[in-house]
Symmetry: C2
Subunit: 131 residues, 2 copies
């Protein structure tokens, strides 16, 4: 996929060069995670069909799954009406997007008793991220 005109690209001028990108399971619709993209990571995602983000904490490209193997195969890419948010519909290899081992990063539900963890851990992070 090579978007052909500037107006067909995300408007990175809006987010100080970084825009939020939501990854959603293409089949179940589950929202898996949200991270940020810069123009380079967006271009690589479009070119390779694998999700590449920009890590704000490490200040470099983050090829999702490069360490854990849990890459995200991108099924489709969507931009919102302002072209300042990106939505990826993905196939999550390894069945877990979150570094904690949960399928989705959004496993903490807000309740009147505080946060309650719901969801199932797919893997043990200690075994996947070898120290």
């Amino acid at each position: 996929m090579t978007p052909s005109a500037p107006s067909d690209n995300p408007d990175f001028s809006k987010g100080d060069g970084l825009l939020p990108a939501i990854a959603q399971d293409a089949v179940t619709g589950e929202v898996l995670m949200m991270a940020y993209m810069n123009p380079e990571s967006y271009a690589e995602t479009v070119r390779t069909g694998r999700a590449v983000y920009f890590s704000r904490s490490r200040n470099k490209l983050w090829r999702k799954g490069e360490e854990s193997g849990n890459v995200q195969e991108v099924q489709s890419i969507w931009l919102d009406c302002d072209r300042d948010t990106i939505l990826l519909k993905v196939h999550q290899i390894g069945d877990a997007a979150c570094h904690t081992g949960y399928r989705s990063c959004f496993y903490s539900r807000v309740t009147s008793d505080g946060l309650v963890e719901e969801g199932t851990k797919v893997f043990d992070p200690d075994k996947v991220y070898k120290k």
Copy 2:
């Protein structure tokens, strides 16, 4: 819902006081929009059960649907593993979240021929937002 401890709340220190909030249809799983929340809008959302964002362009609270009537009834609130992104599962009144009249703001699909609008317009914005 009144989260009971600071650690049960979003960590607004991470986003210069604003954190991204994703609104997802609670039934279909469709991602409807993404906007931002400050502590005040988050607290009002939790308290009232209706989505309240913070408009960066207008620099004030944005009670979603206050003009169009298309409010979002919040079914559940989720935080991600870093507590710096909020996910709302909502019932979208009026069946459209986007000010353009589309059901979802993510109606523009990235293709090799550029952006292609997919999805159905639910309402005519000229009729809803009376000038």
